[in-house]
């Protein structure tokens, strides 16, 4: 049975993706940030499909020490139960913040959770992914097209804007996916970004306030069900041969920002490695 790890798997896109993939026979390892949410999500999936193979783990992925703890737990589980192989990692966990707030490391929270947590978790799980010729998928957004990376102030401390922080984190995700393909496609690991479109989830109402919460409450009414982007994840997991594209919407390839270049990718990798105290090195991880 192929194993898939999904972050942010207790609600919205992550939960629906877990539900659909469990139905298709994958073993799902979900990560959520509270015990209650994990329990509720597990019950929800099992009530639909009593034979679903699922296991939930609790971690606040905004904090790097919890990413590392989660990776250690998952790796141990994979080694003991799945021959150390991970077929797919779906970096879906994300947030919106109305204000500049930092993690324990002093990193802006949208940058830390939407992008950097996935960068670090992928690094930690890379040996298991390489063993299975696995796939890394990341929840992106079409909004990545309207922005450049603020290299001189990547945490936006000098002029914080919630939307800018969100868009930039999504651009970083697609740069990361390209960087992974550049480095590991030949070794069998492929990375993709899924554009979910406008989806009716609560992402803009959790720990936000004032204008952001109000605008999102109105905007999400026009969004599609989380099961729509979940189908794209199922499509990418279900292809026998790894698809060659990078950015997908409604199960089809789509064009991405012109700022997704090799130069920007390498620059982001170098910065992110520094911010996580790691070094992606094929020799070290395979």
């Amino acid at each position: 049975m192929k194993t898939i790890v999904i972050t942010g798997a207790t609600s919205g896109i992550g939960l629906e993706t877990a539900r659909i993939l469990a139905r298709q026979g994958y073993f799902i390892m979900g990560i959520g940030h509270s015990v209650e949410n994990c329990k509720r999500a597990e019950e929800s999936i099992l009530s639909d499909n009593p034979n679903a193979k699922i296991a939930y783990f609790t971690a606040d992925l905004m904090q790097q020490r919890e990413v590392l703890q989660a990776a250690t737990t998952i790796t141990k589980y994979l080694d003991e139960n799945c021959n150390g192989e991970l077929y797919a990692l779906i970096n879906n966990a994300g947030c919106v913040r109305s204000w500049y707030i930092t993690t324990e490391e002093g990193y802006e929270q949208q940058f830390a959770l939407n992008y950097l947590a996935g960068f670090l978790l992928t690094y930690e799980l890379l040996p298991s992914l390489l063993r299975a010729n696995g796939r890394v998928m990341i929840t992106g957004s079409e909004s990545h097209k309207g922005i450049k990376v603020h290299w001189d102030d990547v945490m936006l401390r000098r002029g914080y804007n919630p939307l800018t922080a969100y868009k930039q984190s999504k651009l970083c995700n697609i740069l990361f996916a390209k960087g992974l393909n550049d480095r590991y496609a030949q070794s069998g690991v492929h990375a993709y970004v899924v554009d979910p479109g406008l989806v009716n989830t609560d992402i803009g109402n959790k720990k936000t306030g004032g204008l952001v919460s109000c605008v999102w409450a109105l905007r999400k009414r026009h969004g599609v069900s989380p099961s729509v982007p979940a189908e794209t994840y199922a499509f990418l997991c279900g292809q026998e041969e790894a698809p060659k594209g990078l950015y997908y919407y409604l199960c089809k390839e789509k064009t991405y920002s012109k700022h997704v270049t090799g130069e920007n990718t390498d620059r982001l990798f170098a910065l992110s490695e520094r911010l996580c105290g790691i070094h992606y090195d094929k020799e070290n991880v395979s």
Binding site: Q63, Q64, R65, S98, W99, Y100, I101, T102, T103, E104, E105, G106, Y107, R157, R158, Y160, K207, G209, G210, R274, L275, C276, G277
Partner: protein
């Protein structure tokens, strides 16, 4: 420049540590949260390549502070700046809070701040300018029923800092006292601001901006910093309106807020 920050592992302390790191200052960070200090140390070193030293310490314990000072003296660290950020609040009526919790507010906000300020002034770098920042509050400007102990502890800091500034004027040292309104530092702070509605949003200051301007003003030798024009107007009104009237209005407002929210908070 060597900077010591108390209460560094969260909220305003962490924001100031980030701002100092960005400016290339070397940091000595303390907080009761040892794990938080270690995470912040890594983050600052990775982001800014500055030297960061940490020591967990309960500033309300003289023994714990002495242990920290021993570390400082063993490494012969001498300081150019002290940022007194550690502070605490348990909201609610005076008799509605446990006795020791009420006393703890004054122990940390005032007694511990005096202890550390005295100790670090003794360890300032010889022959160099020295800067101290105290974190008071907009609450220090008014009588604050239902936040009585907290507001009074912050008034103490405002008056103490103003006096100390005068005492140190001829000793090449500056003292700034920061009096912010709400700051979005924690989930609880976010909820607290949200339940205050318009006034919560209107008096809330942006954390990163307050951190930046606090350092700018402290280094420029200013004495008092009240962030936000609305907050400065409120502070001015607090001086000209009879204090009994202010107390009545504040009581009405906080009573309303507390009916929505009765949770403890730490800043």
């Amino acid at each position: 420049m060597n900077v010591m920050i108390t209460g560094a592992a969260g909220g305003l302390g962490r924001a100031l540590a980030i701002e100092c790191g960005h400016r290339g200052f070397n940091l000595f960070l303390t907080d009761v949260n040892e794990a938080g200090l270690r995470c912040l140390q890594s983050g600052l070193e990775w982001q800014f390549s500055v030297t960061v030293t940490t020591k967990a310490c309960d500033l309300t314990s003289a023994v714990s502070v002495d242990e920290m000072l021993k570390v400082i003296d063993n490494h012969n660290i001498r300081f150019d700046m002290l940022l007194n950020i550690a502070g605490l609040d348990f909201e609610g009526g005076f008799m509605g809070r446990e006795r020791e919790k009420v006393v703890k507010i004054v122990s940390l906000n005032d007694a511990a701040t005096l202890r550390i300020t005295h100790a670090i002034l003794e360890r300032r770098r010889t022959g160099k300018h020295f800067t101290i920042v105290f974190v008071s509050s907009l609450a220090s400007m008014f009588p604050m029923p239902l936040k009585a102990t907290y507001a009074a502890s912050k008034r103490f800091l405002l008056d103490f800092a103003t006096s100390l500034r005068q005492e140190l004027k001829n000793q090449d040292a500056d003292v700034l006292v920061l009096c912010p309104g709400g700051l979005v530092t924690t989930k609880e702070a976010m909820e607290g601001i949200a339940v205050q509605g318009f006034w919560g949003d209107a008096t809330t200051n942006r954390l990163e901006v307050v951190a930046r301007k606090t350092l700018d003003r402290a280094l420029a030798g200013q004495g008092v910093y009240v962030p936000g024009s609305l907050n400065r107007t409120l502070a001015f009104l607090g001086r000209i309106i009879p204090r009994s009237w202010v107390a009545a209005v504040v009581y009405w407002r906080w009573n309303h807020v507390h009916s929505k929210r009765m949770k403890p908070s730490v800043d």
